[in-house]
C-alpha cells in the first residue's frame, strides 16, 4: 500500500546549526502536507503545512519544501535550539473525494546538543 515515511530515524545536531528533516510520500494524489512536532508525553503539535500548489512555505525559523516530482517533503529548522528536541513527523492528506484524513509517517527524532 502507499505510505508516508522518513529517511532518517534520528538526527543529532549542535545548538545553533540548521536541521533538515526529510519525508518521502508515495501517494501522488496527496495535496496537503503537514509537519508535526511531538515532545515526550505530549500530543502532536502543528508546525507548518503546505499545499501541493506550492513548493515552499516559511514560518518562524521553519521552512517546508515540497518536491512533487520526486514526492519529497522536507522541514528545515534554522538555528536549532535545545527546545527543538522532539520527534518530527510529516502527514499527508488527500482531499479529493472529500476525505481529510491524514496519513502519518513514523517520525524522526531530533536531538539538539547544547
Amino acid at each position: 500500500g502507499e505510505s508516508v515515511g522518513l529517511h532518517l530515524p534520528t538526527l543529532s545536531v549542535q545548538e545553533g546549526d540548521n536541521s533538515i528533516i526529510n519525508c518521502a510520500y508515495s501517494n501522488s494524489a496527496s495535496d496537503y502536507f503537514i509537519w508535526y512536532k511531538q515532545e515526550s508525553g505530549k500530543g502532536p503539535q502543528f508546525i507548518i503545512d503546505i499545499r501541493s500548489n506550492m513548493d515552499k512555505r516559511q514560518g518562524q525559523r521553519v521552512t517546508v519544501l515540497l518536491n512533487k516530482t520526486v514526492k519529497h517533503l522536507s522541514l528545515q529548522i534554522a538555528a536549532t535550539q535545545p527546545g527543538d528536541s522532539a520527534v518530527y513527523f510529516c502527514a499527508e492528506n488527500m482531499s479529493t473525494g472529500g476525505s481529510y484524513i491524514p496519513t502519518f509517517g513514523r517520525g524522526t527524532s531530533l536531538i539538539v546538543h547544547p
Binding site: Y32, G43, F46, S99, F104, G107
Partner: protein
C-alpha cells in the same frame, strides 16, 4: 491559547472491561477526531466526527469502538470490551473546519494500558 484537553492521562483497565476516554475539544471547533499511537509506531486515524455523526472511520474502528458527543463540550471514545492490543496512546484532535488549511489541534493523549 485554547487547547484540547484529555482525561484521564493514564487509564489502566482489565482485559474485557469497558473504558471511556474523554476529550474536551477547542470550543469553536466543529470537527473532532480520535487517533491512536501504539508505542514506537505511527499515529493512526480512528474516526472523525461532525454534526453529531461519524464522518469517516478507519478499519481499526470496529464494532467495539464508539464515539459520542454527550453535551456541548465533551467528546468521548468508548471501547466496549478491551483487548491487550488496545494498549496505546489515544489522541483526540479538533479542527475549526475541514478544509485543507485548517490543521488539527491535538490533546496530550490518554495512555491506555490493558492488563
Amino acid at each position: 491559547e485554547p487547547e484540547v484537553t484529555q482525561t484521564p492521562s493514564h487509564q489502566v483497565t482489565q482485559m474485557g472491561q469497558e473504558v471511556i476516554l474523554r476529550c474536551v475539544p477547542i470550543s469553536n471547533h466543529l470537527y473532532f477526531y480520535w487517533y491512536r499511537q501504539i508505542l514506537g509506531q505511527k499515529v493512526e486515524f480512528l474516526v472523525s466526527f461532525y454534526n453529531n455523526e461519524i464522518s469517516e472511520k478507519s478499519e481499526i474502528f470496529d464494532d467495539q469502538f464508539s464515539v459520542e458527543r454527550p453535551d456541548g463540550s465533551n467528546f468521548t471514545l468508548k471501547i466496549r470490551s478491551t483487548k491487550l492490543e488496545d494498549s496505546a496512546m489515544y489522541f483526540c484532535a479538533s479542527s475549526e473546519a475541514r478544509t485543507q488549511n485548517q490543521p488539527q489541534h491535538f490533546g496530550d493523549g490518554t495512555r491506555l494500558s490493558i492488563l
